[in-house]
Amino acid sequence: MLLKWKSIAGLLIATGMIFSGVAKAQDTIKVGVLHSLSGTMAISETTLKDTILMMIDEQNKKGGLLGKKLEAVVVDPASNWPLFAEKAQELLEKDKVAVVFGCWTSVSRKSVLPVFEKDNGLLFYPVQYEGEESSKNVIYTGAAPNQQAIPAVDYLMKDVAVKRWVLEGTDYVYPRTTNKILEAYLLAKGVKPEDISINYTPFGYSDWQARVAAIKKFGSAGKKTAVVSTINGDANVPFYKELGNQKISAEDIPVVAFSVGEEELSGLDAKPLVGHLAAWNYFESIKTPANAKFIAQWHTFIKNPKRTTNDPMEAHYIGFNLWVKAVQKAGTTDPEKVIAALPGTETPNLTGGIAKVLPNHHITKPVYIGEVKADGQFDVVWKTPGTVPGDAWSKFLPADKDVVADWVTLKCGNYNKATSKCSGQNF
C-alpha cells in the first residue's frame, strides 16, 4: 500500500517535473533593468540600460544560460527616488525577475534597499559610491572610496606633491560622506586643518565665478594646491567653463574629479581642461584586446561609432559576467543560491586583471588616474600595481574603524569586531 502511494507520488512528481520542464524550456530567465530613462539622470542611466541589453543579446547568441534564453524587463523609474522602490517591487513581485541591474545615485539605491531585502532579490549596483554599506542582496560593482578617492589623493600627495587641498562637492550624501573620509585621511597623513578647504554648492549650481576665484586665491599661498571635486551632474559644465575662463591651468591647480568621465566630457569643449584629472577603474583609452572588442561591440549595438564607453558601463559588464558565472556555479537562478555562490566568483576586467567578488559583496578593481586630453579622452598617468579590494566600511572614520562586512562566515554586513555585535541591516 505504502509502496503504491509512494510510486504514485513519485509518478506525479515526475510528470510535474516533465511538465514544468517543458513549460520552462519555452520559458525565459527574466533580467530586470532599473535605470532612469527620463528626468535628470536619464543622461547617464540610459547608457547603462543599453549596456545590459547588449550583454543579454550577447549571452543569448551564445545559447543563453542554463539552456534558457534571457529576457530583459526594462522599467523606467524616471529619476524619481520613491518610484525606484515601486518599480523594484514590481520587478521582484510581479515579473519575478532573477536579478536586477540598476540604480545610479546613492539616494535611489537607499530607496530600493528595503525592497530587495524584504523580497530577497539580487541587485547589481554599477556606480562608484560613498561606501559605509553592505547589503546581503546587493553586489557593489562600482568603486568604494578606497578604490577611487583614496588612491587619487595618494597620487596627488606623492607624485604631484600637493600640500593644500580644496574639497569641492555638490551638497548631498555622496560628496559629504566622501569628503568626511578624505578629510579624516588627509589629517591622518599630517595635512594641517588650515590647508584643507571644504565647500558645497547646490545641484545644478551655475554661478561659479566667486567660488573659482576663491579656489585661485586659496591656491596661490605658495604651496602646491589641488581640487578634489565631487561635483555631480550638470553643475560640472559651468564649473569647468569658469576654470577655463579664469585661466586656471592643470599645471597650476589640477582638479581631480570622481564623477566626470568620457560621457560627461563628450558634451563639452575639452581643450581648456587638458591636464585636469579623473580617477576611475576604467578608461576607454586603455588599450587591451578585451577593451577593443567591447568598444567595437558597443558601437555595433548602439549603431553610432562616436559613442563613448565609461566606467559604470564596465562595472555592468563585470557584474553581468559575474552573475552568469554564479548562476552556472549554483545551477539555478534562485537569488538565495546565486548570492551564496557569488563570493569568490571571478571574471576578467576589460583593462586587464581579475574582478573577484569579496565576502563583503564588493569586488577587486584596478585604479587609474587619467589626464584629460583635447579630444575628451583620458591619458592614464598612474595606476595601482594590482587590483584593490573594495572596503565596505572606511578604515579612516573613527566610528566605523572596527566594522566589517562578511556574508560568508559572519553572515553580517555590519559587524563590529570590538563589541562582536552584528547591527543587522541598519545603514
Partner: protein
C-alpha cells in the same frame, strides 16, 4: 669632407642655414650631435615620466638646432614612435579625428610620408612634464620678435629660476626694448637676487618687487619676515627684513583694494543676470499685473533659439550669438503674444486662475522642448571673443563673458526705458497701465496694447535666455531655476518700477557675493531671502513703490 667641415666648428651656422633655407637634403649626414639627439629621443619611448624629465634637460643641454621643434611637438602631443620599427617621429598638426598623420623626421625635418594612428604610439606627457617643457621652450621664445610671446616666456621662466635661466634673463634684460617685458624680467631677476647673499642687492631687489602686485611675490616676502614659534626669524638680516616687511605691507594693501573691486564686480555681474531675467517680468507682472509662471520657459526658449541659430550657421560661431539676440526676441515675443491672446486675456483680474493657467503653459512648453530636443543638455559654444579674461593688472582680472553680460544688461535696460518713455507704443503702454478706461476713451486700442506689452516682456525674457545660454546648461528645466529669482527681484524693487528692478537686482547680487565667502553658496542665498522677507514686512511695496494715482488702482 663634409664631416670634417662639420666637426671643424662651422656646424651651427651650417645647420641653421640649412634650416632657414629649408633645403636639408639627404646628403645631410649624421653628426655626433645628431646621434646624441636621436639617442635621447629613442630613450623617450619607454621612459617613465621622471626619466622623460631628465631627457628633456639633456635635449636642452645638447642644444641641437631641432630641439625646439621637437620639444614643441612633444608639448603639443605630436611626438610618436612607429610600432613596427620603433622609430621616433613627430607629426604635423592635423585635425582632431584624423586617422592618418603626416610624419616628420626629427633630424632632417623632412616629411617621411603618412602613417595610420593605429600604427603609431604617442609619447605621452603629464602636467609636470608640460610645465617643464613650457619653461624649456620659453628659453627659445625669449628672443621671439613678438613682445607678447616674450612676456609669456619671461613668466614661464620665472617658474624655474635656476642658474642658467637667471643668466638667460640677465642677457635678455640688456637688449630688451619692450617696457612690460623688461619689467617682468626685472621681477624675475629680483626674485632670483632675493635668494642671494649680497645684502644691498637684496634690498634693491625688494625695492623692485615692491611695485609688483603678484601673490607669489607677496608670499616670498612674507616668507622672509615669518617668525617661527621659538621667536627666531626666517631671515637673519634685520635690514632685509625691514625692507621686506614694508614692501609686503604695501603689496597686500593694494591687493586688498583690488580684491574689493573684484567682489564688487562679481556682485554686479550676478546682479545683472538677476536684472536681465527680471526686467521682462517687471513689464508683464509689474506693468500689466499678470503673474506669468511661464516667464522662465520664455527664457528657456531664448536659450534654445541661440542653440538652433548656432547649429544653423556652424561656420560662424563668432557672430551667431549676435544673430541669436533678435531671433530669440522674436521667438519669445511671438510665443508670449500667443499665450496672451489664447489664455491670459480671458483671465484679466483673476490672478489665481492666471497663475494656474500660466503654470500649465510652462509645463506644456517644457514638454514640447523635451520632445523636440530631448532632455539632454545642449551645448552652446562660447565665441572666442567672449571667453578668457581681461587682465586689468596682476591682482585683478575680469572674465569677458561676465563683463559682456553686464554691458548687455545695461543696453537692454536702456533700450527698454527708451521704448517706454520715448515712443508712441511706450506712451500707450503706460497710459493703459495707469488708467485703462481713460486710455480707451482717448482712442487707444487697449487689447492690442495688452498683447504688445506682453510680447515686449516676453521678448526681453527671450533675450535674457541668450545670455543665460552662456552661463548655464541649456536644458528644458532651465527656466524653472530662475523663475523664483526673477519674481523676488521684481517684488523687492517695487512692482511696476523699472528702476526698482535694476537697483533691486544689483543690490541683491552684491549682497549675495559679499556673504558667499563667509556663509557658503546655500546659506548666502538663505540670508538674502530672510533679509528680503524682513524688508517686505517693513515696506510691502518694495524699494520704489508706485506713487500717485496709479498706485491707488493696484
Amino acid at each position: 669632407m663634409m664631416k670634417s667641415f662639420l666637426r671643424a666648428g662651422g656646424l651651427w651656422l651650417f645647420i641653421l642655414l640649412l634650416l632657414v633655407s629649408r633645403s636639408a637634403g639627404p646628403a645631410y649626414a649624421q653628426s655626433p650631435s645628431d646621434a646624441n639627439f636621436l639617442a635621447s629621443l629613442d630613450a623617450l619611448r619607454d621612459a617613465s615620466f621622471e626619466d622623460k624629465d631628465a631627457i628633456i634637460d639633456k635635449l636642452i643641454q645638447g642644444a641641437h638646432p631641432n630641439a625646439q621643434v621637437v620639444l614643441t611637438a612633444f608639448l603639443e602631443d605630436r611626438l610618436y614612435f612607429r610600432n613596427d620599427d620603433q622609430k621616433v617621429f613627430f607629426a604635423k598638426p592635423a585635425a582632431e579625428d584624423a586617422t592618418d598623420l603626416e610624419l616628420v623626421d626629427p633630424v632632417t625635418l623632412k616629411s617621411v610620408g603618412t602613417a595610420s594612428v593605429d600604427n603609431l604610439t604617442k609619447i605621452g606627457t603629464n602636467n609636470h612634464l608640460r610645465r617643464t617643457l613650457k619653461t624649456a621652450l620659453a628659453r627659445f621664445a625669449l628672443s621671439s620678435p613678438d613682445a607678447k610671446t616674450r612676456l609669456v616666456a619671461a613668466r614661464d621662466i620665472e617658474q624655474d629660476l635656476d642658474e642658467s635661466n637667471v643668466q638667460m634673463l640677465r642677457e635678455r634684460s640688456g637688449v630688451e626694448t619692450d617696457s612690460s617685458v623688461k619689467q617682468e624680467i626685472g621681477n624675475g631677476l629680483a626674485l632670483a637676487a632675493l635668494d642671494g647673499s649680497d645684502t644691498p642687492a637684496r634690498i634693491a631687489a625688494i625695492q623692485t618687487l615692491r611695485h609688483s602686485l603678484r601673490q607669489d611675490v607677496l608670499n616670498k616676502l612674507q616668507g622672509l619676515i615669518a617668525q617661527s614659534s621659538d621667536g627666531t626669524f626666517a631671515e637673519s638680516d634685520e635690514n632685509v627684513r625691514r625692507a621686506a616687511a614694508s614692501a609686503a605691507m604695501s603689496i597686500s594693501r593694494k591687493r586688498t583694494i583690488y580684491s574689493a573691486f573684484e567682489t564688487l564686480f562679481f556682485g554686479l555681474s550676478l546682479g545683472s543676470v538677476l536684472v536681465l531675467i527680471a526686467i521682462g517680468l517687471a513689464i508683464t507682472f509689474g506693468v500689466m499685473g499678470v503673474i506669468n509662471m511661464a516667464h522662465g520657459e520664455l527664457m528657456m526658449l531664448g536659450a534654445y533659439t541661440t542653440y538652433v541659430v548656432q547649429t544653423a550657421m556652424p561656420n560662424h560661431t563668432e557672430i551667431s550669438i549676435l544673430v541669436a539676440i533678435p531671433a530669440a526676441f522674436i521667438v519669445a515675443a511671438l510665443t508670449g503674444i500667443l499665450i496672451e491672446r489664447a489664455i491670459i486675456r480671458f483671465l484679466y483680474g483673476r490672478p489665481l486662475e492666471t497663475l494656474l493657467a500660466t503654470f500649465g503653459v510652462s509645463l506644456i512648453l517644457q514638454q514640447l522642448v523635451r520632445s523636440i530636443f530631448t532632455a539632454l543638455n545642449r551645448s552652446v559654444i562660447t565665441p572666442n571673443w567672449m571667453s578668457g579674461t581681461l587682465q586689468v593688472n596682476e591682482a585683478l582680472s575680469i572674465t569677458y563673458n561676465r563683463l559682456y553680460i553686464v554691458i548687455f544688461t545695461m543696453l537692454v535696460f536702456a533700450a527698454l526705458l527708451l521704448i517706454l518713455k520715448r515712443t508712441r507704443v511706450g506712451l500707450q503702454i503706460r497710459a493703459v497701465s495707469q488708467n485703462r478706461a481713460m486710455a480707451k476713451a482717448m482712442g487707444i486700442r487697449s487689447e492690442w496694447v495688452d498683447a504688445l506689452t506682453f510680447g515686449l516682456g516676453s521678448g526681453i525674457a527671450g533675450v535674457a535666455g541668450v545670455a543665460l545660454s552662456q552661463l548655464t546648461n541649456v536644458n528644458p528645466s532651465l527656466g524653472q531655476s530662475y523663475i523664483i529669482d526673477s519674481f523676488m527681484v521684481v517684488v523687492f524693487g517695487g512692482v511696476g518700477s523699472m528702476w526698482g528692478s535694476m537697483v533691486g537686482g544689483m543690490s541683491m547680487g552684491v549682497v549675495n557675493e559679499l556673504l558667499e565667502p563667509y556663509a557658503g553658496a546655500v546659506l548666502a542665498k538663505i540670508f538674502v531671502l530672510i533679509a528680503l522677507i524682513l524688508f517686505i514686512q517693513r515696506r510691502p511695496r518694495g524699494l520704489f513703490p508706485p506713487t500717485g494715482r496709479a498706485s491707488e488702482n493696484q
